[in-house]
């Protein structure tokens, strides 16, 4: 479950980062960074080797989809 949340929160951060109307620093911290940091912390505490691999693969896929597609 935390992996799905991690992907969702990372995706949310990436989508917000490329939008024309950037959110306020407070919004960025509270709504985008903190939830992602919590997911990473949970992964560090409870994640298996396979979870780590899955986490990086998933994040990489989101990067390709959101960041690279939009800069093209």
């Amino acid at each position: 479950m935390y992996l799905k949340r991690l992907f969702g929160h990372f995706s949310n951060l990436a989508e917000h980062a490329v939008r024309p109307y950037e959110p306020t620093p407070a919004h960025l911290k509270k709504r985008l960074l903190l939830p992602l940091c919590e997911d990473i912390s949970e992964l560090l505490k409870a994640g298996t080797k396979n979870d780590f691999n899955e986490a990086l693969t998933g994040i990489s896929e989101i990067c390709k989809k959101i960041i690279l597609e939009k800069s093209a």
């Binding site: 479950m1 949310n12 989508e15 939008r19 109307y21 950037e22 306020t24 919004h27 939830p35």
Partner: protein
Amino acid sequence: MSKLRINLPEELDKEFRAIIASKYGFSKGALSLATQDAILKWIIKNGKEPWLYIDNNMTIDINVDLLSSLLEIFSKLINSEIITLSFKSTTEEIAIITKVFEKFEIEGKNVIFKLNKSDFIQTFNQLSNILQIQVKSSLMIEFDNIYLIGGGNGCFNVCGGFHVEQFNQVVTDFLTSLNIELKIELNKLKDYQLILLNQKSNLIILTENR
């Protein structure tokens, strides 16, 4: 419309007009549009959280009171008989849930409700009233392969296999439910941002195609 007269250093004015010309050409109203855009960005950047912000990348930042109406529209338009609602809870919260609800699962700190479509909104509203789940950053709502997750308090992103046309339908129906007239068909726009600064202000539609 208000009129604004300001003093600008000449260099800034030149650069501003040059970029406007390269972006919009020399069309009538381009200077006003660019100025509105700049002012709006400044307002948001300096702390005004819009009452509603939705864009075609499926990021949603809405006032938390609107969340239930939005989720109702998602649940109507997505063909998913079971909707999964999950969030992290404290021990005290789990004790409350156990007293009020019969069917739910616990996985570590996570509470998971697998709900029939017909029970979804009622349960969401109950959990919102009792535990304020609408503000939780761990709140995740899954409709088969589509899921909504965000930083809590109305900040959301739609993940998974949701097509932009389906999303546009959700947005259109949602705005209609709020009695907000959308004078443009979203499917005809490549990129868009919809902003309502306040509950009673006019809908601002920004698009690269304007």
